[in-house]
Symmetry: C2
Subunit: 135 residues, 2 copies
DNA sequence: CATACTGTAATAAAATATATTACAAATGTA
DNA sequence: TACATTTGTAATATATTTTATTACAGTATG
């Protein structure tokens, strides 16, 4: 799982949006991100699974947007790449015999859920087109 | 840098708040988090640097809160442990010769800055006491 | 003075992220 | 048809980051 999944995906989509009539190759995209093309293809596989892009194999193949960029919001991209936001959990399972240890993860989860709502509301208001138009 | 830094720190602080009159040892705290005591001491070092806790060396030593938990907000804890929230960046420096690559990180940073404001506003409204009282 | 702590550095191990290699299958084009 | 180019995907390797462990000097307590 790429840690920069969201960033990479939005980078890919911004490029695709800039060239809406072309099939861009993973190699070309990788050159802009400066990332291995195989990893680009992996993120594209994810986008394909969500029907955001379509791609064509073979010579002159590549990938292009399959949706209207004014309708695709950053919230959707976030959800496709990040599940959920938050400030993390301690890695090991806390001590279930301690009242704090037993419940901390649930309380953190509640806190993070609120956080997600706020962030989602923000991202919902920004389309790929909006984002792309900044460039 | 612990990835669960925030979670671990808030766990520590919640425990300290539950026993405001005792110096808790890193071993005891580590037992609740289920984390190596050395790492607990490292987070405590960070809290000490911010004057949130005080600790006592030697036998029967340990750490206790040095502030009023109703005055300490989760926002402050967030800032002490997490610098900033966001959805990440691609790891490698993007291609500066590409108009998208050249600017993407700045645009992402702007987006994340807005996100931080929203999250900070939320966390500002919750004190350590509030959080601790849930247990 | 023995014991139980903190503080911190150094090192090791584990987990995760990223890169590379390889190749089958698809497709355009000479 | 043969060739070049590209996707799709698996397998493996490398690098990076996290977490754990070990070690021990210094400090307070009884």
């Amino acid at each position: 799982m790429l840690s920069g999944k969201f960033a990479i995906t939005i980078h890919i989509l911004t490029l695709l949006n800039k060239f809406p009539n072309d099939y861009l190759s993973s190699e070309y995209i990788a050159g802009s991100i400066n990332l291995n093309p195989v990893l680009v293809r992996k993120e594209i596989a994810n986008l394909k699974a969500h029907n955001i892009v379509e791609s064509k194999e073979g010579k002159n193949g590549g990938t292009k947007l399959a949706v209207d960029s004014s309708k695709l919001t950053l919230k959707e991209i976030f959800e496709m790449t990040f599940e959920t936001i938050g400030l993390g959990y301690a890695k090991n399972q806390p001590n279930p015999d301690c009242p704090v240890g037993k419940n901390i993860n649930q309380h953190l989860a509640n806190l993070y859920a609120d956080m997600n709502e706020k962030v989602s509301a923000q991202l919902q208001g920004i389309s790929l087109e909006d984002f792309s138009n900044q460039f």
